[in-house]
């Protein structure tokens, strides 16, 4: 087996996402019935129901009267909020894992993933892009390939860094050159192996190179810009550091202005603090370690 085959063979050992993630995504795609359907799906899982209710009642949100049911929580906080909390807590244990060779702890990878998802959400709402939850989910999962490829990076890091310096190419391209495959492709293959909607796999696959994608896909441009911005702001960096590029064409395609980008950044930081607080309060202590950097 060459390196690429070795890495791809590791995909099967990555923990499968809970099947409810698919059902939630599907439900959100049907706006007319989304609210009732999402509540119905979450209700099936007592642990998830408990998490969502704890999050809804966390001291951070500061309701004087607790929300006693999912329907009440959904009514107060909105379907999308409930969807995001549910998907985030379903995916949390899959993503809070170290990406060894990148020198990223589980907490840092989780923080970067969550920040990118929240940034994507802020951008889509400011740009009035109709988002069915796919963008949030794709952004949350965009770097999961790093967990799989991490152990192979450690040995190859020097070669990757040398190629970056020699050719002035970004990290994922050098990664592909040395290992035969990059974290973006591995992440996409994972999403495909779970039969996720193809737009999620494509957002993951092209998140560093949206211009190579043959169609105009706003979801991809959003995930790309959200990721690049979180890297630029230093939220959850690894050894690959800032060695990535931001596509000017993606910015033009979305007609994104400086002001909107900066408004989204400031909103994202506040949302990130809120959601991190929610997770700290809502999930069992053993599950959540203090977020530090």
């Amino acid at each position: 087996m060459n390196k690429k085959e070795q890495i791809v063979s590791k995909i099967s050992s990555f923990p499968t996402l809970p099947v409810m993630t698919h059902r939630l995504i599907k439900a959100l795609n049907d706006p007319e019935n989304a609210a009732t359907e999402i509540v119905r799906i979450i209700k099936f899982d007592p642990a998830l129901t408990a998490n969502v209710l704890k999050a809804a009642n966390s001291s951070y949100l500061g309701f004087r009267r607790p929300a006693n049911s999912l329907s009440e929580a959904t009514f107060r906080l909105g379907t999308k909020w409930i969807f995001q909390i549910a998907v985030s807590s379903l995916i949390y244990s899959n993503l809070n894992r170290p990406a060894a060779g990148y020198d990223m702890s589980g907490e840092e990878l989780w923080r970067h993933s969550l920040a990118t998802a929240l940034m994507a959400e802020s951008l889509s709402s400011l740009l009035k892009i109709r988002d069915s939850g796919l963008i949030y989910t794709a952004a949350l999962l965009h770097d999961m390939g790093k967990i799989v490829i991490g152990e192979f990076i450690a040995d190859s890091f020097k070669d990757i860094q040398r190629i970056i310096n020699e050719k002035n190419i970004s990290f994922e391209l050098a990664e592909e050159e040395v290992l035969g495959v990059s974290h973006t492709e591995i992440g996409a293959l994972l999403a495909e192996s779970w039969h996720f909607p193809s737009v999620i796999a494509d957002c993951i696959r092209w998140h560093h190179n949206p211009d190579l994608y043959p169609q105009n896909e706003p979801a991809l441009d959003i995930v790309h810009i959200a990721d690049a911005t979180c890297l630029m702001e230093g939220i959850g960096l690894g050894r690959d550091d800032l060695q990535y590029r931001l596509s000017e064409k993606a910015v033009t395609r979305l007609n994104l202005s400086n002001n909107v980008l900066e408004a989204a950044i400031s909103q994202t930081l506040l949302n990130l603090e809120d959601v991190e607080n929610l997770f700290r309060e809502a999930l069992p202590a053993a599950n959540v370690r203090e977020v530090k950097k």
Binding site: N168, G234, L242, E248
Partner: protein
């Protein structure tokens, strides 16, 4: 006391000599340290964005998010602790960018530009800085000695 972590958009002031103020992972964000060596008061800010005009209500709740609200606030808090403006030693790190970002959405560069304007208006000099490039930085500041160091993948240097 001891290691005091300054998070994104935070301002911290200390006059405890065994304190070390530290901020991690400065990308395009900028970390500024200010020190009055006579009364040994120090402060640090880690701001994200240049101008608060994009969101005055957020700046009201979190002045440390923006250069134009956070940096004056850092100095106000320092002076309130007895520091004298003419004695302040100011050092700066961060303001990095992604690869080949140049002028395009270059928040790091604008962050540094605004900082220089604010300091110039207030007659405060930058004693040392390590800014720009495609590199993230950790800024560390010892209250007892006033020593400021910057750590990155390139190693650790004193400012």
């Amino acid at each position: 006391m001891g290691l005091q972590v300054v998070g994104i958009s935070e301002i911290k002031i200390s006059y405890s000599l065994d304190d070390i103020l530290i901020t991690y992972s400065l990308g395009s964000c900028i970390g500024v340290t200010a020190y009055d060596p006579v009364i040994r008061v120090g402060g640090m800010i880690h701001y994200m964005l240049p101008l608060s005009q994009i969101s005055p209500e957020k700046a009201a709740g979190k002045p440390g998010m923006f250069a134009d609200t956070g940096v004056p606030e850092l100095f106000r808090e320092m002076l309130a602790c007895g520091a004298a403006k003419e004695r302040l030693i100011v050092k700066v790190a961060g303001g990095a960018q992604l690869m080949d970002q140049n002028k395009f959405f270059n928040i790091g560069e604008r962050n540094f530009l605004i900082l220089r304007k604010i300091l110039w208006k207030n007659n405060i000099l930058i004693k040392a800085s390590d800014v720009g490039g495609v590199i993230s930085r950790t800024l560390r500041f010892e209250l007892e000695t006033g020593k400021v160091t910057v750590k990155s993948v390139k190693g650790e240097v004193e400012l």
